[in-house]
């Protein structure tokens, strides 16, 4: 009996320690975890492996499945989060990474395989979903008002500032129940990037990041958690990917853009934002750019690229070729899937520019391999 108990002590402590231990491995550059989980190319039959963001996972999965069916090239993608994707790419344990936030200079310099290029794939649109049962017409919001709601300065739905934007709308005298993501997330990065760009108070306060210190509100896990929370909580307001708001049939707010128009989140308004941002860009950009609050009358202001991350010099020429071919296919055919999954496709001229760029990667790899 005595022995049994000492086992219980060890086992229960182990139960907690175990999860922490698997966490720990990520600290040391995630090499241990990678070795354990990454299927080797030959074993799984995958031609390319990648890891990273969960935000574009639905479209990536669709692309990879279609591409495998069409060209027989199998791509294994692990949606472990942008941070994990960057770490694995730095350690060269995957062929490509994926991230919702561009890599910082420090992260780039820590990469073991040399320079990394950023390839925007699709545009993510972040919608403001709300639950106001009595409301029939879409709510209108401005950036500074949104920032003040998330700063806790505007707390009631019938606040004069909200009422001023929404004349004739019967707003309830209830608390605004602010919902945000509990864990670090690319969606949060896009949203806080936007708030920082429109509100000095937000910029100097919580700032932008995948996880910030929220002045108010409650955290829900994952996009599904946020939309679920909004859906079942009257008077809730939260940000979420457009696809999730659409699937859950939640109303989304019109947000005022740079030109003063109130624009609904949509695939078209997302592409318009990218086009607006790119019109000001030079030809030699590395595409590590933010497109929030972009120019253009039709542009929705809370949008962002999501990126594939690939090394500029890939030793294995065959892999480099496969990767480049895939990206070219995605730019030409894959983009058509974007709107149906709640993303916005890249503007056509950008897709063409990116195709040419990845081609140069594959070419430099094959010449370097000789």
């Amino acid at each position: 009996m005595k022995h049994w108990l000492s086992l219980a002590v060890a086992a229960s402590a182990f139960g907690i320690g175990c999860s922490s231990d698997s966490s720990q491995k990520g600290t040391a550059g995630s090499s241990t975890r990678v070795a354990g989980t990454r299927p080797s190319s030959s074993a799984s039959g995958a031609d390319l492996t990648g890891a990273g963001a969960t935000f574009p996972q639905p479209i990536y999965n669709k692309w990879f499945a279609e591409y495998a069916a069409k060209n027989g090239v199998k791509i294994n993608y692990q949606a472990i989060g942008s941070g994990g994707g960057i770490k694995q790419l730095q350690e060269q344990t995957v062929d490509f990474g994926a991230s919702d936030a561009p890599m910082t200079d420090a992260e780039l310099s820590a990469a073991k395989g040399g320079p990394i290029i950023h390839v925007p794939t699709v545009i993510g649109v972040v919608a403001l979903a709300y639950n106001l049962p009595g409301l029939t017409q879409p709510l209108k919001l401005t950036g500074s008002l949104l920032a003040d709601i998330y700063l806790g300065k505007v707390t009631k739905w019938n606040d004069t500032r909200i009422a001023a934007l929404n004349a004739g709308v019967n707003l309830p005298a209830n608390d605004i129940l602010v919902v945000h993501r509990a864990e670090g997330s690319g969606t949060t990065f896009i949203f806080t990037d936007y708030l920082s760009s429109v509100s000095p108070a937000w910029k100097s306060g919580p700032g932008k990041g995948k996880e910030v210190q929220w002045p108010v509100g409650l955290g829900a896990q994952g996009s599904a958690g946020v939309t679920g929370q909004i859906k079942q909580t009257p008077n809730a307001l939260g940000y979420t990917e457009l696809a999730y708001a659409q699937q859950n049939k939640l109303p989304t707010a019109l947000v005022q853009n740079k030109t003063g128009q109130f624009v609904a989140p949509s695939s078209e308004s997302g592409s318009a934002a990218a086009a607006g941002a790119l019109s000001k860009l030079g030809g030699n950009t590395d595409y590590r750019i933010s497109i929030v609050n972009a120019d253009g009358a039709q542009a929705y202001p809370i949008t962002s690229f999501t990126w594939l991350l690939v090394y500029q010099h890939i030793k294995d020429a065959a892999k480099a070729r496969k990767l480049a071919d895939f990206v070219k296919w995605a730019m030409a055919d894959g983009e058509k899937e974007a709107a149906g999954l709640g993303y916005a496709p890249l503007p056509g001229d950008l897709a063409a520019r990116l195709s040419a760029r990845v081609d140069s990667v594959a070419t430099s790899a094959s010449s370097g391999a000789k």
Partner: protein, 332 residues
């Protein structure tokens, strides 16, 4: 589960130790020696593993502890952008949600156990005991889903308005602020259901282990059935019941998934039961996957180390209490 209860119950009654096997092993065949070494090796593996895990967790958390010092455990900042981390809200939430759980679960669990062991006819006892034990077999994510879809809306729409409006407690600190639904109260409630089977199963076994003579003596002195339970049975089983409660506490402290889904995940210490909070385990579960900078990861590991310490201390207390029960029980 049942092992837990029977083990603790068995401590309550004096067990004659089995005759020492060691003497028989002396001078035995090679097979016996191999067997002995193998089992010794297996037994040693567990403490070695535990030490190794603890060392790893502390080593990984050390950079954060070094950077923020002891104040890591007493500050409330959790700002990944500016790299300020303090674990106070998570520690507070872990302790408070567990206390709420025990306050709600203990009377219920002990009541169930008393009913089952003292009053229930056999045809009720078996199925009810089975169902209560079954609560422990439900995966915590299922509890979490049920919490989100059923319990939280019920708390928000009925229970919290009852406290706020009917009992007029809305102005007291305990029930102040907007009612989101996900809250410290919700976490405590879901934990109460999750720890109930542990406490109740242990209590049931401990009560069953109270000697018949104890009850008969009380009844012979003219005690009613209730007096017999209250004055003769419960005092005898007290340490065992406390052991069961502490085992439940250990479960509540480490529970992650269900709590994460209903607590609201907010790094803030609030006196209000209806305000969102955080626990140590859910911070780690939520934030690790996207924690990119080293300080953030290290801060999460430091929380893990803190949780490990809490778990070991709680289990040590449980063991000590059960050991006490064994000694007290030996006096009959």
């Amino acid at each position: 589960m049942t092992d837990v209860s029977s083990a603790i119950a068995a401590r309550a009654t004096p067990a004659t130790p089995p005759p020492s096997a060691a003497s028989r092993i002396e001078g035995s065949s090679r097979g016996d020696r191999v067997y002995r070494w193998a089992t010794t090796g297996f037994a040693l593996l567990i403490p070695i593993l535990l030490t190794f895990i603890a060392w790893e967790v502390f080593a990984a958390g050390w950079p954060a502890l070094k950077r923020f010092g002891f104040s890591f455990f007493f500050t409330s900042d959790w700002d990944a952008v500016n790299e300020h981390f303090g674990a106070a809200p998570a520690i507070f939430g872990t302790i408070v949600s567990s206390i709420i759980a025990l306050v709600l679960a203990t009377p219920l669990a002990v009541g169930v156990a008393i009913f089952l062991s003292e009053f229930a006819p056999t045809w009720v006892r078996q199925p009810v005991a089975f169902l209560v034990d079954l609560l422990a077999a439900i995966p915590s994510v299922v509890y979490g889903l049920w919490g989100i879809l059923v319990m939280v809306p019920m708390l928000r729409d009925h229970v919290i308005p009852f406290f706020k409006n009917t009992l007029h407690l809305g102005d007291t600190p305990l029930f102040s602020g907007p009612a989101y639904g996900p809250s410290m109260l919700a976490a405590g409630c879901i934990l109460a259901i999750m720890v109930l089977p542990y406490i109740s199963a242990v209590t049931r076994e401990v009560l069953a282990a109270v000697p018949r003579s104890q009850r008969e003596a009380a009844l012979a002195l003219g005690a009613t059935r209730w007096e017999m339970i209250w004055d003769a049975v419960l005092p005898f089983a007290r340490s065992g019941i406390i052991g069961g409660i502490i085992l439940g506490l250990g479960r509540a402290l480490g529970e992650t998934m269900a709590v994460t889904m209903v607590i609201g995940n907010r790094h803030e210490i609030s006196a209000s039961l209806i305000a969102p909070g955080y626990t140590m385990a859910s911070v780690i579960a939520n934030e690790f996957s996207e924690a990119t900078n080293d300080v953030h990861v290290s801060a999460l590991m430091a929380i893990g180390a803190g949780l490990l310490v809490v778990a070991i201390v709680v289990n040590a207390i449980a063991r000590w209490l059960v050991w006490q029960t064994g000694r007290a029980g030996g006096g009959q």
